[in-house]
């Protein structure tokens, strides 16, 4: 028996396939992103309040926990969600990435300990306490909130970065870079982080969602956005009491958050896909 290992047809870059892969992610993430972007312009003026958690009555998606129109809140509520959670995640990585990489790349045990042990301490402190304290002493502000959410995420992210980087940091390529006198930044971020970009993308993708709901919790405690702010995550959190009477107030923003999460992650997946290579490998066996 014989096997043909060459394709009959010539092969080309599979741009169309890759494009389709991106398309799905873009379509899913597009809805929430578009609403976030354009919603505030479409929202229109604020109408009179109604009874909280009612359906109908001129409100297409009913009313929320303080009797406002859910549809309007949904249209208004995307920007802060996207902005704060993205900023917070980016901020967390901005700190965690150098920390994790430094810990992975250093040879000095003491340096590694000084970098990671304090983070471990932070890791073991209930974030509830942190949130409460900040709520008590820190004047509410969106920037502060993003910083706080980032802070809660840093120890975690740094550990994942460190674990993912350990293998790459010990490769001969890194030794070669060092022998070239390459800068730390280029070695760490340009090479080590680059080689674990998939892990980073996967972690950041889900961390984004975590950040989102932390924003809502914080809002409830009085940090950052107002507790009745138009913000999808806050809406999901605050409208939960009406879940049984007026599910839309939870379901619609939650769906948008889900779409955002799923879409962004699918985009990440498509961006870091290796399938292209393997497609080729398999096609090689087709006649």
């Amino acid at each position: 028996m014989r096997t043909a290992r060459t394709p009959g047809a010539p092969r080309t870059r599979l741009t169309a396939r890759t494009g389709r892969r991106f398309l799905l992610g873009a379509a899913v993430a597009g809805v929430p992103l578009l609403i976030a972007l354009l919603g505030p312009w479409l929202a229109g003026a604020e109408g009179p309040r109604g009874v909280s958690f009612t359906a109908g009555g001129g409100h297409r998606l009913g009313t929320d926990f303080v009797g406002r129109d859910v549809l309007r809140q949904v249209l208004l509520g995307g920007r802060s969600v996207v902005a704060v959670s993205v900023t917070a995640t980016a901020l967390a990585y901005l700190v965690a990435l150098p920390l994790g990489l430094a810990a992975a790349l250093t040879r000095r045990a003491w340096l590694e300990e000084t970098l990671t042990r304090p983070l471990d301490v932070l890791l073991a402190v209930p974030s509830l306490l942190l949130l409460l304290l900040v709520a008590a002493v820190y004047p509410p502000g969106t920037a502060g909130l993003a910083a706080l959410v980032a802070l809660v995420n840093v120890p975690d992210a740094a550990r994942i970065v460190r674990a993912g980087a350990a293998e790459a940091a010990a490769r001969p390529a890194v030794e070669a870079l060092r022998a070239q006198g390459e800068t730390w930044w280029r070695t760490a971020v340009g090479y080590v982080a680059r080689s674990m970009v998939r892990t980073l993308a996967a972690d950041a993708g889900v961390r984004l969602t975590g950040a989102l709901y932390l924003v809502a919790t914080a809002a409830f405690l009085g940090v950052g956005v107002e507790p009745d702010a138009a913000d999808w995550a806050v809406m999901v959190d605050r409208n939960r009491t009406g879940l049984s009477v007026q599910p839309w107030a939870v379901v619609v923003p939650a769906l948008l958050v889900v779409a955002l999460t799923v879409g962004v992650n699918l985009l990440c997946d498509a961006g870091t896909s290796t399938a292209r290579k393997r497609d080729r490998g398999r096609k090689g066996e087709r006649r």
């Binding site: 028996m1 001969p172 070239q180 087709r286």
Partner: protein, 569 residues
């Protein structure tokens, strides 16, 4: 895919023609970015026979070999037919480290491969039988201490040991076809001879071997049929003896003319060579023959006059000196014991020894990549920091190391040229633009075009990458250049060119002193002095000619073999 139905149909139509072949390539053309890397190649692999592909570095050997495995480079357009008999194909890649799983012990995959062969045994016997098979394969691959090797991680093996592990995998597989891509580059002469013997034995058992190699000794010892490749085309093919005795194509003649080409290579060296033949067709592949080096000039023979003089007191002080270096790895006994050596400016020191003898470890100690050692490494008499992280730029630039595994030492995601040029930027403060120009020029001198260098490492052949790695180190204008097997992946022509370049550089006033770690005794013969390393100890050190022609230590004698020992058969 491998559906029997379709296979039958194929056998029905074309099977007759290949009745005795286990694999066949017909009119294969692999085109990347409009350039044919392999063009119109055809070959037949038959059971029990060794088919050798030889040719210049970058001529498409690996690409052709991988085609038998159904693998092609990224973004390639492939036409032609490749047929392989049902069943796995053994593969010994050019860079063995890449196929060794960094997270698993060496034994893991070997055991799994062995398991496929013990499925019919009773459950209880399987384990023992598998282990016995693994150990036998390691033995056949000339890895002594197999049981111990199984428990190691790949990074705990020397380059040659890794190569033999991969070879053992192929032997263990029991495939009908084995593609061996440079299977002996990392092996010392002694081991190589034995491995060659094993490959011959494998072929005798009816396995078809496709051997891709620069090692003409090996090819001559093993091959039944030889195909000579150049710039993606097969320029000449035929039974080995015939080709060896009556090479028709000028390129073949040139290729065979190098050191090691024949036992009496020494006489051939002086023979004037046919001028370079322009590459056929639109192929722009840089050919070694275009290297702007005085190809016809004899290789720098060891200069007998100055060498002894340097050993005397009035010679220049050593640039780099290792004093009583005893190195160990985590949790191992000392691998390098009390090794002392030194190189002077303009001098070339060859370090030879058995695979796994500690050569790389020594070089890494010098280069600051291995800091678990006692003893001292001195640069111009001043101690060098153990770890290169503590070396300043001048010290980094002064001692440069070219890695044994060129592929592993490059960042797979950035163009080679960028990576090469960074040395000049970082260590000599050259502007990026100028550094790139300098890099392009230097790469040109070793036969790498700018177009090639602009690709990522994955787009370069093994030998091309090796040369790029060399240039990367050279751009630092080092005082001492430590080359760990930098010519193992080069064909004889290119190798000569590269060595010449190094010799020229060394001779320049500010040129680097060379530490050449090599298994190739011909290459070693070019050095001023030779240090022989056996099991972590330097057993002999002295002028090259002396050490090679009149070895004092029994180990050196064994390594060099009796005069003319390169051709066992």
């Amino acid at each position: 895919m491998r559906s029997p139905k379709r296979a039958d149909a194929e056998t029905g139509t074309e099977g007759g023609a290949r009745a005795d072949a286990v694999a066949e390539i017909r009119d294969l053309r692999v085109e990347i970015g409009g350039r044919a890397v392999v063009d119109g190649v055809g070959l037949t692999v038959r059971p029990g026979r060794v088919t050798a592909l030889v040719g210049a570095s970058g001529s498409g050997k690996t690409t052709t070999g991988l085609a038998l495995l159904g693998e092609y480079p990224d973004g390639a357009r492939v036409t032609g037919d490749v047929w392989v008999a049902e069943g796995p194909v053994g593969y010994v890649p050019q860079h063995p480290a890449s196929v060794l799983n960094p997270a698993r012990r060496v034994g893991a995959l070997l055991t799994d491969i062995a398991r496929t062969g013990t499925a019919d045994l009773p459950r209880r016997a399987r384990r023992a039988a598998g282990r016995a098979r693994v150990l036998a394969a390691l033995e056949a691959a000339r890895l002594p201490d197999g049981a111990e090797v199984l428990t190691r991680y790949p990074h705990q093996l020397s380059g040659g040991q890794q190569q033999r592990v991969v070879l053992a995998q192929a032997l263990l597989l029991g495939a009908r076809t084995v593609v061996a891509d440079e299977p002996t580059t990392g092996l010392d002469a002694l081991t190589r001879r034995r491995v060659a013997g094993e490959l011959a034995a494998v072929a005798r058992r009816g396995v078809a071997v496709l051997l891709l190699s620069h090692d003409l000794d090996l090819v001559r010892d093993l091959a039944d049929e030889v195909l000579v490749m150049r710039a993606g085309r097969v320029v000449e093919s035929g039974p080995a003896e015939e080709l060896w005795l009556r090479p028709r194509h000028p390129w073949t003649r040139e290729l065979l003319g190098g050191p090691g080409g024949t036992a009496d290579g020494g006489q051939e060296r002086g023979r004037p060579r046919t001028p370079a033949v322009p590459a056929p067709g639109p192929v722009t592949a840089p050919l070694p023959v275009t290297v702007p080096l005085p190809v016809a000039v004899p290789l720098p023979a060891p200069d007998p006059a100055p060498a002894p003089a340097r050993d005397t007191v009035e010679g220049p002080a050593p640039v780099l000196e290792a004093r009583a270096v005893t190195a160990r790895h985590r949790g191992t006994p000392a691998l390098l014991r009390d090794a002392s050596l030194s190189v002077r400016a303009g001098e070339c020191l060859a370090v030879v020894g058995r695979s796994g003898g500690g050569k790389t470890t020594l070089a890494r100690c010098l280069a600051g990549l291995h800091s678990r050692y006692e003893g001292q490494v001195l640069l111009d008499g001043a101690p060098l920091p153990r770890s290169l992280r503590r070396r300043d730029r001048a010290q980094l630039a002064a001692v440069q190391y070219v890695f044994q595994d060129a592929r592993a030492a490059f960042d797979a995601y950035r163009p080679v040229l960028d990576q090469v040029a960074r040395t000049a930027v970082r260590l000599r403060g050259v502007r990026p633009g100028a550094a790139e120009e300098e890099a392009v020029a230097a790469l040109g001198r070793v036969g790498l075009s700018e177009g090639t260098a602009r690709r990522r490492p994955g787009g370069l052949s093994g030998g091309e990458l090796q040369r790029a790695a060399l240039v990367r180190a050279l751009l630092a204008r080092p005082r001492v250049l430590i080359c760990d097997e930098v010519t193992s992946g080069l064909d004889s022509v290119t190798r000569r060119g590269v060595l010449r370049l190094l010799a020229d550089l060394a001779r320049e006033p500010a040129g680097p002193a060379l530490v050449l770690i090599t298994h190739d005794l011909d290459t070693a013969a070019l050095a001023d002095r030779i240090a022989v390393l056996d099991a972590g100890a330097i057993v002999e050190q002295g002028p090259a000619a002396e050490a090679l022609t009149a070895p004092r230590h029994p180990f050196t004698r064994a390594l060099t073999g009796s005069p003319g020992a390169h051709g066992p058969r």
